[in-house]
Symmetry: C2
Subunit: 159 residues, 2 copies
C-alpha cells in the first residue's frame, strides 16, 4: 500500500491534461478508503453514506477516466459488475465460485503485458488472468455440494 495522497492524483491528472475535479478526487478517495475490490455502485453508495453524494453517471465517468489514466484498475470478474480498486501494481484476480469473493494474485512480471500469446493476433498491451475456484475460507467451511451459497460478508468500510 504505497499511500497515494490526493495531491498525487491531482498531479497525475494534470500531467495527463485532465482536470482534477471533485468527482474524480472523491471517487479515488472512496476506493482508497474502502480498500479491496468494489463495483461502481459500491462507490456510489459509499459516497452517499459519507456526505459526498454524486450522480451515478459521474461515478461511472470518473471510474472510466481514472482507469484510462491507470490510477485505478478495472477487473471483469464474471457475469456481474466490474470491480475497481486503487492500482499500486499490475496483478491478477482470483474469484471464488462459492462466495464470489475477489482476491488479488500477484503478477510475476508486475507490469503489463505480463504474458504474450503464442499466436500473432495483433498488438497486445495487456493480459489479464482470472483464476476461478474455491477460496480457502469456503474450503474450510466445507459443504462441498452447495454451490448456491451467496455469502455476502458485510461491507467492511471504515468510518
Amino acid at each position: 500500500m504505497a499511500g497515494k495522497l490526493p495531491d498525487d492524483i491531482v498531479t497525475r491528472l494534470r500531467e495527463a491534461g485532465l482536470r482534477a475535479t471533485r468527482p474524480r478526487l472523491a471517487v479515488t478517495e472512496a476506493l482508497r478508503a474502502m480498500g479491496g475490490h468494489h463495483t461502481a455502485d459500491d462507490v456510489h453508495a459509499h459516497l452517499a453514506r459519507h456526505g459526498t453524494a454524486l450522480p451515478r453517471t459521474s461515478v461511472y465517468n470518473s471510474l472510466v477516466t481514472l482507469a484510462d489514466l491507470g490510477v485505478v484498475l478495472r477487473a471483469e470478474v464474471g457475469p456481474g459488475a466490474a470491480v475497481y480498486e486503487v492500482a499500486d501494481s499490475w496483478h491478477h484476480h482470483f474469484v471464488c465460485r462459492r462466495c464470489g469473493e475477489v482476491g488479488d494474485v500477484p503478477c510475476v512480471a508486475g507490469a503489463k503485458p505480463c504474458l504474450t500469446p503464442g499466436d500473432d493476433v495483433g498488438q497486445v498491451d495487456e493480459a489479464q488472468v482470472i483464476f476461478r475456484g474455491t477460496c480457502r475460507r469456503c474450503l474450510a467451511a466445507g459443504d462441498p455440494a452447495d454451490p448456491a451459497a451467496p455469502k455476502d460478508p458485510a461491507d467492511p468500510n471504515a468510518a
Copy 2:
C-alpha cells in the same frame, strides 16, 4: 474442429444425469452452425431466424447448463455481454479494443487450469486469460487516434 454431432451431446447430457431437451440441443447446434464467439442474444436471434425460436430465458438457461457441462465455453470479455462458443479445447481470448472482435489464443497447456497463482489462494480449477490490444486488421486500417470505431462486421452465418 472435431465435429461434435448432436448424438454426442445427447450422450454427454445423459451421462451427467441431465435431459437432452429441445432448447439444449438447439442452442448447441446454433453455436456450432454459427462458429466463433457469440452472445446469448446472438444465439437467440439465430434460432429465431432459423425457425427454432426459443424464449430468451431458455437460451440463457441452456447456455448455463451447457457451460457447466463443458459442452460450450463462456468467456467474459469486457463490459458487455459474455460470449459463448463450442468448446473443443481450452484456450484463451484476445479482444480488440478498437473493433471489439474476439479471437482465440491457443493455450499451451490445453487443459484447465493452465496457470497457477503464485500465492495459495485456495483451490484453483481454471485460469482464464484475456489479452487486450489492437487486432491486425485494425492495425492495418491505421487511424491510431480513433478508438471510437465500432465496426460491426456482418454476422457470417451460413444457411
